[in-house]
């Protein structure tokens, strides 16, 4: 009553069903327990917990690095330790103090006119870059952007609504600490035709304070080098 073709088709259907079941089962075991079924709020909570954990670990890293620097003893070791302290201070791995300036940058407070590009009145990564570059040119020995110590690998770039510094998101108001001669640093920024003039034209709020003692935190990111090796 059933033709050969029909029977073959039924078997084929059964095989396809089996294939789909197996694929579905495999997919569920592969992806099921991961993010697929999580809700956004759960993910947000997870993200916050991870970030908290990361911050705690970061503090631990700083503390441990400080502990390593403290280990010493013996005359030669003292010399070496002194040298190490200097190197760490220079490279940003050690916290430090010194006189300098605090530059506070914030989005424009100018009332916006119709038809103007609102982007013009926001603080951008290149504004910060310009200020940081100018401070470095004026002899700043350590620069910190919203708690992020500027080191050899530091990037300052746009990251959507925020700005990424040392792979950490910072947002306006941006506070830049720079250790150096306060007078020199401030004049470098206030130079005619300099950074400050450009920023104030577009309405970015800039404050410069000269401070006798700035506390400079250590760089808390990773220092593992994957590609760079010491030259022989």
């Amino acid at each position: 009553m059933r033709s050969r073709f029909e029977q073959l088709a039924m078997v084929l259907v059964a095989a396809i069903l089996g294939l789909m079941l197996a694929l579905g089962f495999r997919m569920q075991t592969a992806f099921g327990p991961t993010l697929q079924n999580r809700r956004w709020d759960e993910l947000a909570v997870m993200l916050r917990l991870c970030e908290e954990e990361r911050d705690a670990l970061r503090d631990e890293v700083v503390a441990l690095r400080a502990a390593i620097a403290e280990i010493g003893g013996g005359e030669q070791l003292d010399v070496l330790a002194q040298e190490l302290r200097q190197a760490r201070l220079f490279s940003g791995l050690a916290a430090g103090v010194g006189p300098g300036v605090r530059v506070t940058l914030d989005d424009s407070s100018r009332p916006q006119q119709g038809g103007e590009d609102p982007n013009l009145f926001l603080l951008h990564d290149d504004d910060i870059l310009r200020v940081v570059n100018e401070l470095a040119a004026a002899g700043a020995e350590a620069i910190v952007i919203n708690g992020q110590r500027r080191v050899a690998t530091t990037e300052i770039r746009c990251a959507g609504p925020a700005i990424s510094v040392n792979n950490t998101r910072v947002a306006p108001p941006i506070r830049i600490l720079a250790v150096g001669d306060p007078q020199t640093l401030e004049s470098a920024l206030r130079m005619r035709g300099g950074v400050l003039e450009i920023l104030t034209v577009i309405g970015i709020q800039v404050q410069i304070e000269q401070l006798g003692s700035l506390e400079i935190p250590a760089f808390a990111g990773t220092t593992r080098l994957r590609h760079l090796q010491a030259a022989r």
Binding site: A15, A22, R26
Partner: protein, 128 residues
């Protein structure tokens, strides 16, 4: 050999192939695949019930099996694009139908009255 045995062999072959094949579906396809699978299962149970009742038509079954699977996946895709969770509608409708068919199959196999109101001798079609 019995038709049902052939079907089981086909199912097993598909299962083995599915577990052995080196291909894996991408995560983005997961939802579409699940809905298509549900539609396919629905067709299979519907076909089984039709067989027991006696009104089984291979052409209807084959088109239903592939057509429903593709349509269900397409509906889910449209739902994803438009922000309407058509996916849930498909799951609900197909799930309900699967359970209704299962209930009918159970009753038919126990030799009771089918949901179409006619008493059916169980497995009358099983012997070729």
């Amino acid at each position: 050999m019995n038709g049902a045995v052939w079907l089981l062999i086909g199912l097993l072959a598909g299962l083995v192939a599915g577990f052995r094949l080196p291909v894996a579906l991408p995560l983005a396809m997961a939802r579409y695949h699940s809905v298509a699978l549900l539609a396919a299962l629905d067709s299979v149970f519907g076909g089984w019930r039709a067989r027991l009742v006696g009104g089984f038509d291979p052409a209807v079954f084959l088109t239903g099996f592939f057509g429903n699977a593709v349509l269900a996946a397409a509906l889910t895709y449209i739902g994803d694009r438009t922000g309407v969770e058509l996916y849930l509608a498909a799951v609900f409708a197909l799930g309900t139908r699967i359970f209704m068919n299962l209930g009918a199959i159970r009753r038919l196999m126990l030799g009771m009255t089918g949901s179409n109101g006619q008493p059916q001798p169980p497995r009358s079609e099983e012997t070729p």
